[in-house]
């Protein structure tokens, strides 16, 4: 059979295996394990969409927390019932029509993604006028502006009080389902002609323009798609944590995503997935350094904040000594796996 058919069948088989594993965890796993798996899935979605802009297009975009914020708040506002909104907005009542809108979960996720995309479209004009460092600072600025707005517009977002008591709609099926859809769509984009154009813009923008590629159109496309999936992931995150407030969406979140894609390999979707999984799991596992450690003969007192120091050091070590990260720009491919298992053709 041809390679593409073989790959297609293998992909379907892998997805089925994934869902069987999820079913097993859902039925027999502990709450702690399920929470970590949900975290991993949400971070995979975020990382894969962030990698589309930073890794494939080569522009340093420091404002994904803006899209996540917008997606989270939109989705939360749409799933809360009117009664809950009245209870939560104690300082300033929620503005109409948001106070009466109520939609099912899936619609709220899509709405979150759409709102984030609209915002991305609005800011794309100033953002893509510049490149390089300035683009980084401008996107950082927009991220901060959205956070400040979320804090200040009490009649829309309930300000610093945040939104509480969201229904935990996010379960393993939703989070991993969205993650799988994101990976499929982003990979299709990357492997198609749009993706090739984006990579050419990353390598040499002037040569790309000489080849007739319009940088703005392609960067905008990547930006909007990334914003959409970030918004959806924001909605998932909101309904996973069930409480959101502006302090959740600071530059810190962007920094975590940056660590994920750099360590995984800037420019590789597989790298983003691996990075997200390592980060979500490692974040939990490293909690151990923040608690006192009793090795019998040696008592190490727990140091709060050590986790972030370790993450920062890892980021700097990777960027200085192993710039390519874990995967570099390579992707996982069935060819590679089958060759490793000596089941495929060699050479």
């Amino acid at each position: 059979m041809s390679k593409s058919r073989r790959n297609f069948i293998l992909n379907i088989a892998a997805i089925i295996v994934l869902f069987i594993i999820l079913f097993l965890f859902n039925s027999y796993g502990t709450n702690y394990q399920i929470r970590i798996l949900n975290n991993i899935a949400v971070f995979i979605t975020l990382a894969v969409s962030y990698n589309l802009v930073n890794g494939i297009c080569g522009i340093l975009h420091l404002g994904p927390n803006a899209f996540i914020t917008i997606g989270a708040y939109t989705s939360a506002l749409l799933t809360m019932s009117a009664a809950e909104k009245q209870m939560t907005y104690i300082i300033q009542p929620l503005v109409w029509p948001l106070s009466v809108l109520h939609t099912p979960f899936v619609l709220s996720l899509i709405a979150g993604g759409v709102m984030a995309t609209i915002f991305a479209l609005l800011i794309s004009f100033p953002v893509f006028r510049v490149r390089g460092d300035y683009l980084a600072i401008v996107t950082l600025g927009f991220g901060e502006v959205i956070r400040v707005l979320a804090n200040a517009l009490q009649s829309i977002t309930n300000g610093p009080l945040g939104l509480k008591g969201l229904v935990p709609y996010t379960n393993l099926w939703w989070s991993w389902g969205v993650a799988v859809v994101t990976i499929i769509m982003v990979q299709k984009l990357i492997n198609g002609s749009y993706g090739r154009a984006m990579k050419s813009i990353r390598e040499d923008e002037i040569a790309a323009r000489a080849m007739g590629i319009d940088p703005f159109k392609h960067l905008l496309l990547a930006f909007l798609i990334s914003a959409f999936f970030s918004g959806v992931a924001g909605g998932l995150l909101a309904h996973l944590i069930t409480t959101i407030s502006p302090t959740l969406f600071t530059f810190f979140l962007t920094f975590n995503l940056l660590i994920i894609i750099v360590v995984g390999g800037l420019g590789s979707t597989t790298g983003a997935i691996i990075g997200a999984a390592l980060f979500a799991w490692g974040g939990e596992a490293l909690r151990v350094v923040e608690r006192p450690l009793d090795l019998g003969f040696l008592k190490i007192p727990g140091v709060p904040g050590m986790r972030m120091v370790i993450f920062s050091i890892i980021l700097m070590l990777v960027i200085i000594f192993a710039r390519r990260g874990i995967m570099g720009r390579n992707e996982f491919s069935w060819d590679w796996l089958l060759t490793k298992l000596r089941l495929g053709e060699r050479g």
Partner: protein, 297 residues
Amino acid sequence: MSGTILLQQLINGISLGSLYGLVAIGYTMVYGILRLINFAHGDLLMFAAYTAIYLVGIFTLPWYISFPLAMLITGSMGMLLDRCAYRPLRNAPRISLLISAIGASFLLENLAIVFIGGIPKGFPRPQTFDQVISIMGVRVQVLTLYTPVITVMLLLGLLYIIYRTKVGKAMRAASKDFEATRLMGINLDRIIAITFFLGSFLAAAGGIMWAMKYPQVNPFMGVFPGLKAFIAAVLGGIGNIVGAVLGGFLLGLGEILIVAFVPELSQYKDAFAFVILILVLLFRPTGIMGEPIIDKT
């Protein structure tokens, strides 16, 4: 509003602006030579404030010794930052440098949390700076008046170094053409280290004066002033030192006056600086004192 309140806000604005300007100088000098936005620069502010606290508290040195000493130590910290985080990446693509800068910034902040704790500490304000005097009916702290004066003095000192010494000439050459400077036999690494030292020294001065003005010191105190100082540098024309100070004054004055005239916008004070940045990048990316870049394409 009355004249006295306006005068008070003007004085506040100039004072805040000079602090932004001091920190902006460091950004602009590093960018001029390395084309790198040193995200960790704002955290050097925090480093200086904590160093001053410890010098005064643990070594019980009087302020006129411990403050300059803290500035020297912060200058060395800046050189260490360059040596560890930026020098290994001299030939790497720009995105790596930016990521390294972000990582260094977070590392400094979290190291401060680990070693010092996140609880804000009080900054020891010396008696000399504590007095309040009255000018034309406005009561101001002497610190608010000393700040612009000290800033201008430091700026003049820096300009002397840059325009009248050989080291300064080398720095100017490096900012014009990196590779050619090497060809002239100048040890570029040393020049860059000196640039970082000077920039960090000035940022330390800004940090100490900031901590005297807002005596609550916490590990994240440098983040916003650092970002705003960068915006001030862009506003004034990045790479231009006088422009950085000018941009600092404009930004500081603008921030204070906006809140003074439209008090409802005080929550958006921080966003104001970013709006300025976006406007500058849209309409005059090279800033006020920069030369317009000819688009070669």
